[in-house]
Amino acid sequence: MKLAFNLTKIDSSEDNKLHYGRKKMKGDTKLFKKGIGILVVVLVIALALAGCSKETTGFKVGMVTDAGTIDDKSFNQGTWEGVLRAAEELKLETKYLKPSGTTEADYIKEISNLYDAGFKFIVTPGFKFETAIFQAQDKYPDAKFVLIDGYPHSGDYAPVVKENTVSIFFAEHESGFLAAVATALQLKEGEVGFIGGMEIPAVQKFNWGFQQGIKYANENLGTNITIKAENVIYQGSFDNVAAGQQLAAQMFDKGVKAIFCAAGGVGVGAINEAKSRAKTGEEVWIVGVDVDQYAEGIYEGDKSIIITSAMKYIDQVSYDMIKAEYEGKFPGGETLVFDAKNNGVGIPAKNPNLSDEVQAKVADVFKKLQTGEIKVSDQQGSLIK
């Protein structure tokens, strides 16, 4: 408020001088000249500096981030870690760019920037890139695109995957299923909940898979876990940490023992809440998402409130695609699905909060998913939300 007051005051005092009498008209043209003046200076600087460019050739890998930062402990970070791993192994140059907004125009601008700078192998994580890649694959036929969690389309959802693009999907429902089975087996009885970010396909599939996993464990593995409709919530964003903390607090107060968070920053809030409760001796758990979030949940020594994580091996996928391109085997034009069968999803290899017995049983279930003995639906059906 003070700021506002000052600004307006300064403003009116400087304008007073321009205002009285004939000076008014002069002021008008003067201000016009100022506007043009700014432009002229900009142009002069631009021309003076333009002309010094360096062209590099070779295989350079670029990435455009989705909404959120590169260290989001999730999608962007997973993709980028895979890129870095491949780059180190194959001695490649890498670069990631962060768009200034989340519109198609913002995404295409960054793709153009990478392309013009010689980064012609471009990885884009997130369904929001779908229409941008649809245009980019035509605009830059000599570039290669990896689109994770989406397929290119013109806005009408009819997939058009060109020869220079590969579209990648994960079976989130299988990942959620496994995490649910692991959680159910470890807790044996009690209530669990789910916090989602926005109601988008990937998050919904995590949720539906999770519910099916709980049901499977109750019916086949002798657990008694309940999940109430009131405890299945989509917060509506991926960055509202405070809301995540509140939602988690409400659920824990109602007696929920474990919450599956597929919600980016909202999940971070839930993890914080669980950590502070665990410190006071309460038994609460969070099921992590996308990557192994064990380290995020450490509250004391090496004790973590992350019971396990529903993982998508995003880093592996971006690594594989770069390697494939390096070896000249880029699967252009294809739509690949990563699921239990090709080890694209699962729970972490090490789960300090799960007993060996539980882990053995989960491994068993994982094998059944691989052989197709257990099938997890990626549709809502009769499930909650």
Binding site: A4, D15, K34, L49, G101, T103, N113
Partner: protein, 342 residues
């Protein structure tokens, strides 16, 4: 004076680049090449600047009446939502549809501006508080309306794509700028600048608005109805930001997303300050900022500057640029002191 501020901003950015171990000359070379290298990039810079011209004008206009409009973001959202709603509902020929959409955006934005104006005039509620609250009402209104009535086939988080007939993008302009995102919004912005400059400098209304801004009590004493002018000023400011919403959501972007308050709303404050609250100043400042925003990515791609530092550099430039009024004031003091010494 804005020139000094702009140069100061660029210098501050250069210091930051040097401090992070990068060559500032090279950095700026790539920054400006990124925004101006070819006709497509020039078009994109102008397209990025377009919403900023509107929000800058909106803030500047309210400033003239002594009001601080922080609500440009919300007014933009509502304007964009109204334009989107019309565009996705009716199947009219393009000229007619666009006209109605633009009017809808103006009405939506004006409605969002008039509320804080009335609150200020009737109950003396500070417009900063009221406009910030209106931002969140707009945010959640869009959050409800878009998924409920205009959502796409699969996604709950954004509206259907705006069809060509309802887009401010026109093929002759897109082709002229080699597939850039420049759209009719830019011409609307120029018209808005001319109209606002005219209102402020050549009409009784403009005179009254400014008089209320300089000294509300003196204006009232002179027979100007201050309250009426406060409401009018906020309404026009809102309408300008609403137009910016149309330029952004049905021009630059191709749909409206929920859960995002457009950053252009707040950038409008900096644009207005750098432009010393004058319409043409705002125009120049907005294009300068548009250039920075759109050249940033190329600078990133060509140098070792990480995106986070690049954002900081741009923010530093904007921050220092926005001090132009401060510089001007001190400049005058300095001159007076030197004059006094003579």
């Amino acid at each position: 004076m804005p020139l000094v501020a702009g140069v100061l901003g660029l210098l501050a950015g250069a210091v930051l680049m040097a401090a992070t171990g990068n060559n500032p000359f090279q950095g700026y070379a790539y920054l400006f090449r990124g925004g101006l290298m070819n006709i497509e990039r020039i078009g994109n810079s102008l397209a990025t600047a377009t919403p900023l011209i509107f929000t800058g004008l909106s803030v500047a206009f309210a400033f003239k009446t002594g009001l601080f409009n922080i609500g440009a973001a919300g007014q933009m959202l509502i304007g964009g939502m109204c334009a989107t709603a019309v565009g996705l509902t009716f199947m009219w020929p393009k000229p007619l549809l666009l006209t109605v959409m633009i009017i809808a955006a103006i009405i939506g934005g004006a409605a969002w501006g008039i509320v804080p104006g009335l609150l200020k005039a009737k109950f003396n509620v500070h417009e900063v508080v009221a406009t910030i609250m209106m931002n969140w009402i707009a945010y959640w209104t869009v959050y409800y309306v878009v998924p409920a009535y205009f959502k796409g086939t699969y996604l709950e988080t954004e509206s259907r794509r705006i069809p060509y007939a309802a887009s401010l993008k026109v093929s002759w302009l897109t082709d002229m700028f080699n597939g850039s995102y420049i759209n009719l919004g830019f011409f609307l912005a120029i018209i808005a600048v001319v109209v606002i400059a005219f209102i402020l400098e050549r009409t009784t209304l403009g005179y009254e608005l400014k008089a209320v801004g300089y000294n509300r009590h003196a204006a009232e004493y002179a027979g100007i109805r201050a309250n009426r002018n406060i409401v009018l000023s906020m309404m026009i400011a809102g309408a300008l930001a609403g137009l910016g919403g149309a330029a952004f959501y049905v021009g630059y972007a191709s749909n409206i997303q929920i859960g995002v308050l457009p950053s252009q709303g707040y950038d409008g404050i900096a644009v207005s300050l750098l432009g010393t609250n004058s319409p043409w100043g705002v125009f120049g400042a907005a294009i300068f900022f548009g250039l920075l925003h759109s050249g940033k990515g190329f600078m990133n791609a060509m140098t070792k500057i990480p995106p986070e530092i690049a954002d900081t550099i741009i923010a530093t430039i904007i921050y220092f640029s926005a001090t132009s009024i401060l510089i001007e004031r001190n400049w005058d003091k300095l001159r007076k002191r030197m004059g006094g010494a003579k």
